[in-house]
Symmetry: C2
Subunit: 193 residues, 2 copies
DNA sequence: TAATATTTATTTACCGGTAGGTAAACTTTT
DNA sequence: AAAAGTTTACCTACCGGTAAATAAATATTA
């Protein structure tokens, strides 16, 4: 098994996630991986190549989570919570890479090679809105604007993730996510005027 | 009036916001500003200097908005909307720089010189939570977790801003912000069980 | 006010260091 | 012997930064 390839990837993740794409040099990567430059070019073709391969791998892991089931029988608010918790767990596991992806996705357009992370957002949003439709049909949620409601859920999740990126260890973010979603769903729940 | 200083700043903004800090070279900046390198070093001391001066200026503009008043007499939900709209307008005006700040704030720690944008978040959050306290006292909002409610509002605002950054011109984001806040506040509003 | 001295602004030409990338030789595995 | 993997040594281009000379504006003095 060629572990040079893996060593290169690990080293690249370590450096890209700390110094960004432009802030990391090929020399640093190969040095950390205890190998030489032509090896990196042998396995990944270019600096851009190793970078994109890291991002692609991560994207796929997240899409996999969204394709899972989240207990169709339960209350939608609980399904949505579980969905968010699952993604949150993966997020914590890959926090560094996600910080990198985040800063590229929302960052200056030419600060790094283009990588389309949009598909994750889209699938995430669609998954949420489907569940909200069900909740409104079941009269679990009040009959509000469905897009707006889904947008709230997604934004809250993003908000927690960003907080954890910006201020790690400052709060218990799992708890914050739980609490905030609970409050949001309490607001969405159907009550009489 | 030395307009070389201004030209340098404009050129730097143009390039930093498109290519990031590490992706932009001092040579490019002075070339675009139609001057020479020692001039940049004369006015700003270093690449980091011109960069930080741009960020600092922007931060101050945002803090200024938060120190304004937003109609104490009105419904809190409307005050919060106005607050968000005001910040949103400034955001749109300085969208490029905010994208840059965002990607640095949430990005790899060593991808650019440190700049503390935390103060804006803090003041924004505190402003929101004050208003929510009032709304709950007035029985305009139900008596939920105040931190969670404030977090929802802030997240929704961030969500819209990020959408606009990632997918400019795809939607009417002012409308999205309006609609989403309305739905959120409808959820927060006090109704009988 | 005119000439001079001083400070401020700007340019030319350069520094050592490092960037991404590769040709070509060598070693190991198949 | 052929293929795959790895190394040494090198390429050109560019990086951030600066010394020193010069030009323009301002202050000082006769």
């Amino acid at each position: 098994m060629s572990n040079i390839r893996d060593d290169l990837k690990k080293a690249a993740i370590f450096l890209f996630t700390r110094k960004g794409y432009n802030g990391t040099s090929v020399r640093e990567i190969v040095e950390k991986a205890k190998t030489t430059k032509p090896c990196l070019y042998y396995y990944f073709k270019s600096k851009e190549g190793i970078y994109l391969s890291i991002l692609q791998e991560t994207l796929e892991e997240f899409l996999k989570i969204l394709s899972q089931n989240f207990g169709e029988e339960k209350l939608v608010s609980n399904q949505l919570k579980e969905l968010c918790f699952s993604i949150y767990e993966k997020f914590k596991e890959k926090k560094d890479i996600l910080r990198l992806i985040h800063s590229i996705f929302y960052g200056p357009p030419k600060s790094a090679p283009k990588f389309n992370f949009e598909s994750f957002h889209k699938v995430f949003y669609e998954t949420i809105i489907e569940k909200i439709n069900i909740a409104i049909e079941n009269k679990e949620f009040f009959d509000g604007d469905r897009e707006a409601m889904a947008f709230c859920v997604m934004s809250v999740f993003n908000g927690v993730a960003e907080m954890e990126i910006a201020f790690p260890k400052k709060y218990d973010y799992k708890k914050l996510l739980d609490k905030t979603l609970s409050t949001l769903f309490e607001g969405f729940s159907r009550r009489k005027k």
